[in-house]
Symmetry: C2
Subunit: 462 residues, 2 copies
Amino acid sequence: MQDISEYLVKNKERFISELIHLLKIPSVSADPVYSQDVINASEAVMASLLEAGCDTAEICETNGYPIVYGEKIINPELPTVLVYGHYDVQPADPIDLWNSPPFEPVIKTTDIHPEGAIFARGACDDKGQMYMHVKALEFMVKTNQLPCNVKFMIEGEEEVGSENLGTFVAENKEKLANDIILISDTGMIANNVPSITTGLRGLSYVEVEVTGPNRDLHSGLYGGAVANPINVLTKMIAALHDENNHITIPGFYDKVEELSKEEREEMAKAPFSLENYKKALDINAVYGEKGYTTNERNSIRPTLDVNGIWGGYIGAGAKTVIASKAYAKISMRLVPHQDWKEITELFKTHFESLAPEGVTVKVTPHHGGQGYVTPIDNNAYKAASKAYETTFGKTPIPQRSGGSIPIVSLFEKELKSKTILMGFGLDSDAIHSPNEHFGIWNYLKGIETIPYFYQYFAELSK
Amino acid sequence: MQDISEYLVKNKERFISELIHLLKIPSVSADPVYSQDVINASEAVMASLLEAGCDTAEICETNGYPIVYGEKIINPELPTVLVYGHYDVQPADPIDLWNSPPFEPVIKTTDIHPEGAIFARGACDDKGQMYMHVKALEFMVKTNQLPCNVKFMIEGEEEVGSENLGTFVAENKEKLANDIILISDTGMIANNVPSITTGLRGLSYVEVEVTGPNRDLHSGLYGGAVANPINVLTKMIAALHDENNHITIPGFYDKVEELSKEEREEMAKAPFSLENYKKALDINAVYGEKGYTTNERNSIRPTLDVNGIWGGYIGAGAKTVIASKAYAKISMRLVPHQDWKEITELFKTHFESLAPEGVTVKVTPHHGGQGYVTPIDNNAYKAASKAYETTFGKTPIPQRSGGSIPIVSLFEKELKSKTILMGFGLDSDAIHSPNEHFGIWNYLKGIETIPYFYQYFAELSK
């Protein structure tokens, strides 16, 4: 295969400015305020697919935000790669913690990214990583070396649970038919320690509402005499973990896969410094389920975290009030074999049972998805591993991630194909946080590595 | 004394429209956005004092919002009544629960107020009740029957802890010298069950902040591996009460006065329907400290309530984030003999000790004040009781209130005078809540009763 490095040097500035153009669109799918921007982002993505060399590209309407589909079919006999990504982004708040506006991308160098990183919401998750595939295709088409067919399915609802993707996939099996699905929406251990994500956690995201008295009350006149929804909510949430930080929901762990001593020892080999981990987060100690290491806690073990809580007076100064209602957003990360719908039901039943007399509780499921584990003994994984070896000069480490891409297990069910998770981001890229960024070195390294995957996968598939 | 009823009939509409004028000023002392409105309210009050017949009235600057002082001295030999009230109001939020804009007063009838009630923030607490005194003075001056000297001290920081009143009182003992302090900032049992408040609870109001990682984190990549400040905060708050709803802070109850069996039996005689109480609040059960009745829980027992809590993502939809910080506003109602500064220290020490490794905790005291019990065997109480008998045709019931007017104990310390709490509001007036209102019957009844207090107090003081 013709070396890509020269092409990269020649087009680097354009690759960066094209991504910055896309990052300027505030496509926040969770907040209706940005609905037009999300639409605009889908159109920008479609245009970029045609520009890169797709034969066709289209905006596919759904009941929510559209899915952008594009394809380059060179020969139906050859293997087909389906690239999945998303053009929507997480909300940017808390805005005041950003050092530069989240939708006005800037390039700054950091210790980890001496060659500079693009700071913007979505820079890594997932516009930057998705766009690597667009530019990789451009190179292969422009240099006439594409050894396989490539399809793109880029959605706009990943950050809100991919609610309409399932229907789209089920209704377009023919169109989406493929031999392997390729996704860059995960990370790697370090720029000098490449890794491929082989496992994802499932997710159940719920919102809870506790209602006490029918109106806000004066805490002096009613304090101590009626159930305070905030006090009650804190008691109920606190009761979801025991003193060892095990989750107390009956049946929650029933289907959790316990890894063997050998598997855990294998995992423990991944380079990890607890000191650096604590230093990076500025904490004096880690915290979690008794009997497991930090890397196990955030990958092979299920978790329950409050993602948001609110109730009563939260303005400046003091207000002596007992609120009528208190709310929380709670998410559970699940491991393979835990069924997210079943877990959501278990949560609902248990949480409601925790409510004392004097309050009523409402549990509203938001969304969720199953966990996933990729095999590492198939051609696709071998091709990916070989691609990393070619461009990084090192064999990538297979690694379980704590994150969730709920639709991966759905793809396997509907399209009967496996997924390879080639992620080029880093934990320190602050995805979902203020000052999200993506290293320019990582962006270009992704564009460089993906074509080799095409080549090796096509070869191994012969 | 010349009957006031004719004067009331003739001036009723004016009394109402003058109060509405004052209620239109959004004098929210807790929120800096309204600072100019708070100033405007102080000027409106000063003008009304002169209008009503005070010899002098002035705006007294403090380090915070000004205190309005006015006086009508007819003869230094005669007893002097000092009227205290406040022109600032609680924040109006949650705005969306108001049926009419909080600062656009409207008159509507209710089951409890068939003659109509004025709906507006501050209608009862305390603009309406404070203005009764202004109009009562007007009547006595216009009809030349004032039997004593009257002084007014109306502040603008009661809802934020009267931070600067203490200094003002200490520096103006001469000017504020009096024989009795009269306050209408409490309620009575019912329009046909007049009562006088003889006890108030103290208050300690604090804000707590729990900090975990130095930035918001992706709950998938870090969930289960680091202390989540919101989960931790809920555990810490939950730990502040035991299974019997006793407060767990060491030393918290040490100075709590335990009432005798006889005193509790006396209290239990006050008319009270638990069914109506629950119905009015739309709750299926009351909730509180084991071993005490509802009326005891909200009057003679100390309490701890969360008044507000917030952290993480609280916008629309879902965000899978672990927040860097979580916050809560917590207030404790105290009973006589509990020292609010000591309790604040006990809370701080205990709350900090509840923090697990992996987080840091900050406790910021907001404000507070001591509890108070008025004697019922002195001339002032007798005069007040007789005044109610004259206008209600019934002897008022002495009643402990769960609310707090921190400055009452300060007055006794600095000015060496007792306070009489003649309140004409009702629990159902929803003070501190959306749709606060004040019955027109109650407003006029207050204006009618206060002059009799002047008369009887002057007579009994001879």
